[in-house]
Amino acid sequence: MEVDIPAALNALAPKLGGTAVEKAQRLTGGASMETWAFTVVGGGEPRPLILRRRSTPMDPEASRSVTMASEAALIQAAGHAGAPVAPLVRLCEPDDGLGEGHITGFVAGETLGRKIVSDPRFDAVRPHLARQCGQVLARIHTIPAGVAPLATADASGELDRYEAIYRTSGAERPILEMALQHMRRNLPPPMPNVVLHGDFRNGNMMFDPERGVAAVLDWELAHVGDPAEDLGWLCVNSWRFGRADRPVGGFGEYQDLLEGYMEAGGVEIPLSRVLFWQALGSLKWGIMCLMMYSSYATGATNSVERPMIGRRVSETEIDLVNLLEAGL
């Protein structure tokens, strides 16, 4: 259903502390989520805000997604826990006419991963980012599991889930097969579960050139699981934007990430556990790429993007071979 977002936002202005909404514009967003920037005026200082709403229910990862109400609860809880977030302004109600969504404050900065790893504007702050990310994750991992209904997923469960997707795809990729079997036989020992962001990577954070991490975005894949999952996902080479030499997000070092995590109250996590989850992250991304290609092969979508994403499987395979060779 088409919704006139600027009109609906304008009608909502009184509940947002103003009389009208200006400059409503859609920012580039994902396939199932829309993000809009807008400014509320008429109540003193113009107030820039962000609307995030679900536009279509269909997405390969949709079954993993939390509701927008859960996202809103997580954002608030993360803020209370001391993690930087865009503060929640409103959880949309049915009468708002915006569908399932929430409105947060606007946080200035940069989200493009390639800029974070290479733009000279971030040269000064870049050496501090890995430690900051560790600190932020330690705070996120203190969120009480009861704040929202969240699924629980451990390494074994994740391997089951992605193996099932891989088998359904019909692809026969020896490196993915070897990685699946090897990781299943070498699961890390159990450790207490925590609330995870679930998609904590370079690209899902707002960075400020002076302060570093300004806000953690995109909470839709939050779940309960192994704390090393969030640390490992941040280190997957596919989000290093060409800076494979800087393992944490293309901007920092493992040691800084792990030290920052402990400084902010996180438990001690051995590097080997982070590497396990980094490899599992590469495996998951590779299988997701296969899945996105499948949506082209079956005729479900016809964009040129989808089949080309299928050619990104090999990047995860070469990374997995290197990790296996290094004794993962």
Partner: protein, 119 residues
């Protein structure tokens, strides 16, 4: 095979043309045209480098598995042995063979990709 022009030359010409019209396109189409050019360049590399890469892969896998066959057959057999546990990370020569194969593949798919190094 017809060599005037070769298939890779045709693909190269189309990629060049798509590049040339990009400035006139709206942002969404400009983005997709970039993806299209990437796709055409991968096709071109596969046309040029693919046959030798495939022959090398067949030779490597035949040696490892001790059997003959085309790449699809050998690949399926390798996957089956990995899945059953008959072969794995500790199988002599296997990781090196897989690495050589995936290096050839990434040279076709994304030659600028910088793969992960561990320590």
């Amino acid at each position: 095979m017809i060599e005037h022009p070769r298939a890779d030359e045709l693909v190269e010409a189309v990629a060049g043309w798509v590049e040339s019209i990009r400035p006139q396109l709206n942002p969404r189409d400009a983005f997709l045209s970039r993806v299209a050019v990437n796709a055409l360049n991968a096709v071109k590399r596969e046309l040029v480098q693919g046959p030798a890469a495939e022959a090398a892969a067949v030779a490597r896998l035949s040696g490892l598995l001790g059997m003959e066959g085309d790449l699809k057959t050998l690949n399926a057999e390798l996957c089956a042995r990995l899945r059953s546990g008959e072969m794995g990370v500790s199988t002599p020569g296997l990781l090196a063979a897989l690495k050589a194969g995936i290096e050839d593949q990434i040279a076709i798919d994304q030659p600028s990709y910088v793969s992960v190094k561990v320590r």
